[in-house]
């Protein structure tokens, strides 16, 4: 093969972010944690410029770095979502971390490197690139969960996350190696060509698919590979939970699309039943167990599991409309979850973790605005129109109905009714119960504005979902 200069411009955002992550690291090292506001500002700036760089290059698409790296509409949409969501996350985290002496430079450095990992994952067009991105992201997340060294529960959560995360990576690698064994390639397009040829070894490939689905299931937290998720969400400091509950799911979605659909799309018949099982179990277990929770973080964790189930509905349909629906669901999920955990961060004061549901008693009397925002989020997660969550559920269920899997659709809607119960209970606590504690909420002006914008966005996307839906649809054409 003749030597080719790779098209660097496709990876410009990642290169910029890598550079800036190193700069932030240096700043942290030299200021010794005294100028934390600078570090925070610089991190936000790096993410913003990353997003701008992605945005400026929207019209180009193609492969680079000898086909290991792809830039297509999907990667653009996901990268924009990841950087913007992470900007919100870093903003919401600030005061919470400050109050707990956790707001060190390391947090920002880890966050930036983790974001870099996500971007690489999104653009990976080779099993190795994907794995590289995944590990870069995950290793940073393990460290972030463990940052609260003195908290036993956080350490336990970090341990669980690390061990099960490593197990999942192992599964994924094993599956990849089998695929390599059959197809002789790690490149996604070559794999796709090899597995769709009639003389592909379906027995080995089926085994490989099993391991890959398990690995992805672990990363998403789909039942029965969900055990780590509630414990980690609950145990990690809320700021870290916020970080690992949102953008990494978008990245995991990219992993799923690249491997299962771009790579192994022609084996749809082999993996569809497995994904149906994961989706149905996730919806049932997630929703039923969420009812029993008294801790808001755990409740949101189980609600995440159920959302993963819904998201997989779009994937299992095996149609382009279905993938677009799953993408839409992922983006809306990230937006709602950022708001949900953001609310816990806003409510948690110095030395007080507002993580029990009962802590929100009578919020509507004292803080009508924030209660209203939380109300929007809860109704949206429950899938009640006119909020964005309704369209998310509608599109995935429509995808399933369109391929005539009516039984799966039926399970989905019944589970969404059961799910509505625990979201309504949260509203009941905020609106119908009489206040217990006094709420002292003094978020800074930008947090206040952006949190409100975040929640109102959920309403706006529910009223006018057309633009985002058509973006999602064009990505998969």
């Amino acid at each position: 093969m003749p030597f080719q200069v790779p098209n660097m411009s496709f990876a410009l955002p990642e290169m910029w972010l890598l550079l800036m992550a190193c700069v932030v690291l240096l700043v942290v090292a030299y200021t010794g944690g005294k100028r934390i506001d600078w570090v925070a500002g610089l991190s936000q700036f790096s993410l913003l410029v990353t997003a701008v760089l992605v945005y400026l290059n929207l019209d180009q698409a193609g492969l680079t770095f000898s086909g290991t790296y792809v830039k297509d509409p999907l990667s653009d949409v996901l990268k924009l979502a990841i950087t913007l969501i992470n900007m919100l996350v870093l903003l919401y985290c600030g005061r919470y971390l400050q109050d707990r002496d956790l707001r060190s430079g390391e947090f920002y450095v880890l966050a930036l490197f983790s974001t870099l990992g996500m971007l690489v994952m999104v653009s990976g067009h080779n099993m190795l690139t994907l794995y590289l991105g995944l590990e870069l992201m995950s290793l940073c997340l393990y460290a972030m969960v463990a940052m609260h060294r003195d908290s036993a529960i956080a350490t336990e959560a970090a341990m669980k996350y690390f061990i099960l995360g490593a197990l999942a990576s192992g599964m994924l690698l094993y599956g990849m190696s089998m695929i390599y064994g059959v197809t002789g390639s790690l490149d996604i397009s070559e794999i796709a060509a090899a597995v769709s040829s009639p003389d592909a070894n379906l027995t080995v490939l089926s085994f490989a698919v099993v391991f890959i689905v398990i690995g992805i299931g672990f990363k998403f937290g789909a039942v029965p590979f969900h055990m780590w998720l509630p414990d980690v969400y609950h145990g990690a400091p809320t700021a870290m939970t916020l970080f690992l509950a949102t953008a990494p799911k978008i990245a995991a979605f990219a992993l799923l699309i690249r491997m299962l659909i771009d790579g192994l799309g022609s084996l749809h018949a082999q993996w569809q039943d497995m994904v149906i099982l994961l989706a149905v179990l996730s919806m049932i277990v997630g929703n039923l167990l969420a009812i029993a929770q008294t801790n808001l973080k755990r409740m949101l964790a189980y609600s995440t599991i159920s959302h993963v189930g819904f998201l997989l509905l779009g994937i299992l349909s095996g149609t382009e409309a279905g993938y677009a629906a799953a993408l839409f669901y992922t983006l809306i999920y990230a937006l709602m979850t950022v708001g949900g955990f953001g609310m816990i961060l806003l409510m948690s004061g110095q030395g007080f973790e507002a993580e029990e549901i009962a802590d929100y008693k009578g919020l509507a009397k004292h803080q009508p605005w924030y209660a209203l925002m939380m109300l929007l989020l809860m109704f949206s997660m429950a899938g009640i129109p006119p909020l964005a969550g309704f369209y998310a559920k509608l599109t995935v269920i429509k995808a399933v109905v369109d391929v005539n899997l009516l039984a799966v659709a039926l399970v989905a809607v019944i589970m969404s009714v059961i799910g509505a119960y625990y979201y309504l209970r949260m509203i009941k606590v905020m609106y119908f119960d009489s206040p217990g504690t006094d709420f002292e909420l003094a978020p800074s002006a930008p947090v206040r504005v952006l949190f409100s914008a975040n929640c109102l966005m959920v309403l706006a996307l529910g009223l006018f979902p057309g633009a985002l839906l058509s973006i999602c649809a064009t990505v998969f054409v």
Binding site: P385, V417, C472
Partner: protein, 506 residues
Amino acid sequence: MFDLPILSLLIWLPILGGIAVLLCRENLYAARWLALLFSLVTMLLSFGLYTGFDTSTAQMQFVERLPWVETFNIEYFLGVDGFSMPLMILTTISTLLVVIASWQVIKDRIAQYLAAFLIMEGLMLGVFAALDAILFYLFFEAMLIPLFLVIGIWGGPNRVYATLKFFLYTFFGSVFLLIALLYLQFKAGSFSILDYHAVGLSLTQQIWLFLAFLIAFSVKIPMWPVHTWLPDAHVEAPTGGSVILAAITLKIGGYGLLRFALPITPDASMTLDWLVISLSLIAIVYIGFVALAQSDLKKLIAYSSIAHMGFVTLGLFIIFRIFANASLLPGAGNGEVLAVEGAMVQMISHGFIAAAMFLSVGVLYDRMHTREISAYGGVANSMPKFAAFAVFFAMANAGLPGTSGFVGEFMVILAAFQANFWFAFLAATTLIVGAAYTLWMVKRVFFGEIANDDVAKLKDINGREFLLLGSLAVIVLFIGVWPEPLLNVMHASVEQLLVQVSQSKL
């Protein structure tokens, strides 16, 4: 003059008004007058629907059609016909009454209370005006949010249980509707309800779709045996909530059957009409007896609502038997028209009468803070004006000729004779049971000796309450004596529905 997008105005004006009222926060004065202004303007605007309505056609009128979510071909598609237009006017009148009724009664967070009703008004008008299935579903579900909050925040002691039960029951019903609507889109290639009417379906498909519609709308109506949320919700809801619940949300169930079940799945409706007819008769007879046993005023009216809504479903589903008999007895008359129009009149009339009954209970509850019948007695002595109104509405509820309650029930019973004698016979017994529980309640509450000192100290209704009950009395009497203006607007639509229903899709 009607180039105005009048339906959009009707939907969005109260919603914007609700947001404006919400911004008044602690300013009670501004909140009340603003809410009154918005609901009054909306009501006057809705009269424009009546005056501009062309009664000679069954086509959709005042149509607005804009693309909305282009990826899925979901449209912002509004229009009204003879079924939805009267219900929209019912909605705007009831909301205005609720705003006036809560003038002094609600003390806590009144701006939010009024805002919830205004927003709810817009959403309910949207339900009746929507001709796109997803738009319909959106309004249908979104309406639950304000009602959930109204019952939960301003309700009685057991409000949390009642409001959760209400929400989950209706949500459970409506998700099946969503699947049915998606499946129909899959078949018809569009979300327009009018296209759904034309789509061809096999009998099995129709039966499944019909069952989905029936689950969704029977919970709303509510029909026996999925009615249990209604007494709980009514008892716990504040007066305004009860009025809206009885006057309008129940009608959405009936409207849904008219708009979806009958025209989209005519063959399944015919095959399964025995199911709906028996459930309706159970509601009429059995729930009538249940009402007799109630000791709580609101519960009594709630059960009587279920019984009265039984007439609506009965009227809608006896048409198939009438068709069958008509071929045996040619020239027997137009029982099917009578049945459907009777059901419609019953819906409108029950809307006004139930609103009046709940407002009357509200009048008593505001003074005595109890709804137990046994706490009252001889109220007529201390509140003569109020007693006159209350007895009038009770009579209307029992179906006294000359009131609107008589017209609808009589039309349905008359039509039922052409379907099957026993249907008519059973339905007619309700006139006796209905009279029994209403009159017995009137006797225990209003007549006789003054029961206790509290009753003796009761003050008669003030001007505001007089206005409320007086205007409702005029409407009830008007429809009762001269239903023609109401029947006129629906003739064409009823004829078209009967054509749709009588053409098999198989």
